[in-house]
Subunit: 120 residues, 2 copies
DNA sequence: TGAATAGATGAACAGCTATTCAGCCATCGC
DNA sequence: GCGATGGCTGAATAGCTGTTCATCTATTCA
């Protein structure tokens, strides 16, 4: 069974229209949002562009660390950069990602862990 | 500035109604979905309950590995377990998570990386 | 030009984690 | 009870990654 066949089998079996590469891509997105520091950075520039320095101040971390994270987020196109003078402003580019994030933030804030289901 | 104050400052500055603990909780969710193997497991039982063995077969990995991952997913309440005889079926419990996942899978599958925006 | 500010980069390190392997517990059919 | 099947658990390991520190580039202002 080849790799392509395996991916096909997975897509068939799951009923989810998504192949191996797309799963990897999705996983990579989640990975980038899975680090608390990075997630805070993303949330910080969800609704408006924020400069690197401002982000560092808000989160009380070093500009260097912010920059490192921003590079990853920029590379994955989760954030877009916009230079104004000597400052660089970052913001969430994809509207779909933005709404998903807003949605998830609300979901968590509303405490969706109220129901406990136990198997017999 | 205390920890609580910092969290408050963050919530204020970002405009996102979410505190430190909730950010951690959200990050943890994303972390669980960020591993390709684990993500495949979740996607496999998105729409219907799947047994451990079946999951292992579909993904062509060892039942042991599946079980390890399932324990984490169950602990985080991302998946719910349902024992039938000697088989245990798992499925995505939270409808909100399920729709988010379906949505993101579609988003990735449709290739949302078509537009490249470059800063001046 | 020179100083200063804002970000970016590279190396180095500590901590975490996905995977494998071996063995254990529970449930069903004989 | 006995064997077989299905799933769980614990230890061990290899690979990855978030953070820090020092340094470097780019842009503005005097």
């Amino acid at each position: 069974m080849s790799g392509a066949d395996k991916a096909e089998a997975f897509a068939m079996a799951t009923g989810v229209r998504i192949n191996e590469d797309e799963v990897m891509e999705l996983a990579e997105m989640f990975r980038l949002m899975s680090d608390p520091t990075r997630l805070k950075i993303i949330l910080a520039c969800l609704d408006q562009p924020v400069s690197v320095g401002a982000t560092a101040d808000i989160l009380a971390i070093s500009p260097s660390l912010v920059s490192h994270h921003l590079r990853l987020l920029r590379a994955a196109r989760l954030l877009t950069a916009d230079r104004r003078g000597r400052q660089v402003f970052y913001m969430v580019g994809d509207p779909h990602i933005r709404s998903m994030l807003t949605d998830m933030a609300d979901h968590v804030a509303e405490g969706g862990d109220s129901e406990i289901i136990e198997g017999t």
